[in-house]
Symmetry: C2
Subunit: 181 residues, 2 copies
DNA sequence: AGCAAAACGCAACTGGTCGTTGCGTTAAGG
DNA sequence: CCTTAACGCAACGACCAGTTGCGTTTTGCT
C-alpha cells in the first residue's frame, strides 16, 4: 500500500506538479481511499517528503575509471540521464519550489546533496592521489562546477543537455579557459 | 493599478510560493477587487507571467574591467546578489516548478535566458580578442559554467553562496583543475 | 485456528477557494 | 457633458481540502 501511494504521488507530481497535487487524485491513482492517505501521512507535505526519501535511498555508483576526465564525463552523463527522468525531474522542481517554506523537505534535501557531493568528491580525491590534480583542490567545489551547469539547463534555461554540452562543461573544469603562458 | 497588482503578485509569490498563490490574497494585497484581476488577466498563469515579464525588463550591466577573471568574478557576484533577492528567487523557483506545464512561461523564460547568456557572453568574446582565451571557445558554455554552480546552490542544495565559493568557481573556470605538464 | 487491535473503505460534512455573473458606481476622454 | 470603459460589490455554483463516525477487512500474536 505504501508503495502504491508513493508511486502514485510521484506520478502525479510528474504530471501535474506540486502546485496542483491533489490527495484525492493520488488516492484514486493508488487505488486507495483518501482517508487512508490523510490518516497515514496527515499532510501533503509529509507524503511528498516520504515519497522523495524513498527514492533518495537509491544509491548511484561513483565512476572510477582511473582517469579524472573520464570519471567526470561519466558523472556528468549519469547525472544528466538521471535528472531527466520524469520522476526525478519532478522531485527537483518541487524541492526548488517548496524548500523555502517546508523546513523538513529542505533539511532532507540538504542531507541528500551533501552526502551525494561528498560521494562524488572521491573522484577528485582519487585524482589528487594520482597526481592529476593539485593537492588542496576542493572536491565539492569541483563536483558543483560539473553538475551546476547541467541543473541550470534542466531547471531554468530549458536548453537541451546533449553530449556536446556535457563534454564542453567537463573540458572547462578540466583545463580552464585561460590561455597557458 | 497594474503596478500594484504586479507588486502584490510578486510579494505573494515570495511569501507563499506559486503553489499557494491565491488571487484573492493578491487582490486584497493590491487593494483591488479580485474580479478586476480576473477580468484583466483571466488566469493565474497570465498574471504571474505578466509580473515576471515586467521585472525581466530590468536590464543589468555586463562587467568590462579589461580582465577576464575580474569580469567573471563581477558577473558571479552580481548574479548571486540578484538571484538572492526574494522576488527574483521566487520567480526562479516558480519557473523551475511550472515551466513543464506552462508553455508561455517556459517560452518567455527561454527568451530571457538566451538573451542574458548572449549578453554575458561578450565578456568571453572580449577576452578572446585580448588573447586571454583561445579562439573557438564557446562563450555561452563558459557563462553557464560560471552561473550554473550558483543556481545549483540557490535552488537545490541550499548551501550558502559566499565569496569563497564564487571565487573558487571562477578559479575552476579560469584555470581548470588538471595539473599542468 | 481464534481473537484483539490496527488499518482500511465508505459516506457525509464543514469550510475555503476558484472563477463567473449581474448590477451599480466611478473614472476617462472626446 | 455624455458616452464608454474600467472597477467595486455581492452572490453564486462547483470543486477540493481535511475531518469524522462507523462498519469492514487485515494483521499479528498466542
Amino acid at each position: 500500500m505504501r508503495t502504491d501511494a508513493i508511486a502514485a504521488t510521484l506520478a502525479e507530481l510528474a504530471e501535474r506538479g506540486y502546485s496542483a497535487l491533489s490527495l484525492e487524485r493520488v488516492a484514486r491513482r493508488a487505488g486507495v481511499n483518501k482517508t487512508t492517505l490523510y490518516r497515514r501521512w496527515g499532510t501533503r507535505e509529509k507524503l511528498v517528503l516520504d515519497a522523495m526519501l524513498d527514492r533518495a535511498g537509491e544509491q548511484i555508483s561513483v565512476p572510477d575509471t582511473g582517469s579524472l576526465r573520464d570519471d567526470l564525463l561519466e558523472l556528468a552523463r549519469t547525472a544528466a540521464a538521471n535528472a531527466v527522468r520524469p520522476e526525478v525531474a519532478a522531485m527537483a522542481r518541487a524541492v526548488a519550489a517548496e524548500s523555502p517554506r517546508d523546513g523538513r523537505l529542505a533539511a532532507a534535501n540538504r542531507r541528500f546533496w551533501s552526502e551525494r557531493l561528498a560521494l562524488d568528491g572521491v573522484i577528485v580525491e582519487r585524482a589528487i592521489e594520482r597526481g592529476e590534480v593539485p593537492a588542496g583542490t576542493d572536491p565539492t567545489q569541483v563536483i558543483e562546477s560539473v553538475l551546476g551547469p547541467i541543473h541550470l539547463r534542466l531547471l531554468l534555461t530549458g536548453e537541451p543537455v546533449d553530449r556536446r554540452f556535457l563534454e564542453g562543461g567537463v573540458d572547462v573544469v578540466m583545463d580552464g579557459i585561460a590561455v597557458r603562458r
